[in-house]
Symmetry: C2
Subunit: 328 residues, 2 copies
């Protein structure tokens, strides 16, 4: 019963061939204005819509982008999802949403993406086996790692300039005075956490500021628990740098529970600039990730690769900026 109206029906009503109907719906094809009008009128009358599947079958192209995401709990990512969806929509692409619980994308998810012959893939906060990447490459499906670097030189990557950002963060905190600082790391297997650590640590060491690192996991609960652990030592550090905002908020709440005043007794800075960072309960100083710009870079690359596949590999780093609020 479904979708009963076909190009053939429209052709009959319009008094043209099925090929002409097809041409009306295929941009770039040659059709006279007269034919176009007849076809569109007939299509309107019958409620015709071209069948995407027949179309994809023959063109071997789809208008679907696969978007892979893990941490929807972190408000940063829903925002990313929204912006990608909006941006792709402008170009006529729809988003197939793939959620992965594991750090690494599972085989079944890759298969789904391949089965739907997606035009392109965006991977946000998940990793991928190189063999999986090979499957996309051999099918000439362009792929972008968003906000994560894997093996350099293997993927097109778009992310924030974490190294330079964390150096600036270190300098900023040093400027605020105080002699020992704590880095609250995110998951150790992410480039974002490692790079933010590297820039921060290196700058502190160069300035002979004491540095401690505590492992955590990019969640609010993690930031909270980790900060409690930091406070077990007798000395409160002069400043905290949390690898993302949601951990910074947890850290802030942990500090408050111990009646440690921020920014008087210690300072804290996050990363991302999620909505909550600006809430009056937090007023968190942070580093803004330019999501819009990052999304734009990603979409532009994918569209150009869809247009003509080159397999270009590059790492694009977009600069963010310091957002100063009341925790420093």
């Amino acid at each position: 019963m479904k979708n009963v109206v076909t190009a053939k029906d429209v052709a009959k009503l319009a008094g043209v061939s099925q090929s002409s109907v097809s041409r009306v719906y295929f941009e770039g094809a040659n059709v006279s204005e007269k034919t176009r009008k007849k076809v569109l009128a007939a299509a309107e009358e019958l409620g015709y819509r071209p069948n995407e599947f027949a179309r994809s079958l023959i063109t071997n192209r789809t208008k679907i982008i696969g978007l892979v995401m893990k941490g929807v709990q972190n408000p940063f990512y829903p925002q990313v999802l929204q912006q990608f969806t909006a941006s792709f929509k402008k170009w006529g692409y729809s988003v197939l949403f793939v959620h992965t619980n594991n750090d690494e994308i599972q085989k079944e998810d890759i298969e789904t993406l391949l089965n739907y012959n997606v035009a392109g893939v965006v991977i946000t906060d998940a990793t991928m086996a190189l063999s999986a990447a090979e499957a996309f490459r051999s099918n000439e499906i362009p792929l972008v790692l968003f906000n994560r670097k894997l093996k350099t030189g293997e993927f097109y990557t778009v992310c924030c300039n974490n190294l330079s950002a964390s150096r600036q963060i270190a300098e900023y905190l040093i400027g605020k005075g105080g002699g020992d600082m704590v880095y609250i790391a995110g998951n150790e297997n992410t480039s974002t956490s490692r790079e933010r650590e590297a820039g921060f640590r290196e700058t502190l060491e160069r300035n002979q500021v004491a540095y401690r690192k505590y492992a955590s996991d990019f969640t609010y609960e993690g930031g909270y628990a980790t900060t409690l652990k930091v406070l077990e030592g007798k000395k409160v550090p002069s400043a905290f740098f949390a690898a993302n905002d949601i951990m910074a908020l947890g850290a802030l709440d942990a500090l408050r529970q111990h009646s440690i005043r921020v920014p008087e007794d210690t300072k804290i800075i996050g990363f991302d600039n999620i909505d909550m960072a600006s809430w009056p309960a937090y007023e968190l100083t942070t580093w803004e990730q330019p999501i819009e710009k990052m999304v734009e870079e990603t979409v532009n690359y994918l569209l150009s690769e869809i247009d003509e596949y080159s397999g270009l590999i590059k790492t694009v780093e977009v600069d963010g900026s310091l957002i100063e609020r009341k925790t420093t």
Copy 2:
């Protein structure tokens, strides 16, 4: 170059007909174990995957569910998205994510859903013109409104038992003492806000407790600003009921800014039980929406309608429960 391996190639290598290859991948079809093994071996060797588009073209069925969402800013919805994706994945369905900025789903989004011939549709916090619904109905595409009621009797709806919940909330607050209460409403055109208001108001009036309603919009900023407006009056109400958690958090921050103690000077209760409600900075008393159960109800209905379309219309209301924390 893409997806070059077809059933024909596999058939040749396996020494069987293309029909047999097809049968191996079509569950329920009759194939001998011997044939199956030969085919799977050949498929493995060639890296064969059935083409979903060819399949959909002929069966007129897809394994795609359209999920329409508006407010990804409210952490409640990413959670909903995640649970739907996980749940559908178990049944072999993928999620086409449609984000709408407007309250009402736009025509182009409906077209996308129809073009991809989705097997079913879930609409969360958005509304839809009846004419759009008609398009789904006439194509026998099952549809569920999740957490929103539109015209009763027109849609299959799954939501929380808002009326009973808000009555219990009112009784709970009355039990805590105090004589005048404020309802912070969400968007006026949503059933969730209206129903929560109705149950709350009705119970207060029956108990002769003064009631005031303030319009707001389901956002943190809205809850914050609206509460400031409430406080412009000289008298601080004895309690606030915010139509969702994110507004309640905004309200709480506004109260703090005015140094009004919670729960001593006034009380506040939200709705949803989002992650943040349990954060130490808030410890918000709220009503938990049983997302898991609601998702399950939705998925079960859709699967049964996909299996055999009946057009069944019903409103399923799932009970939630009070989560008592420190704001009451």
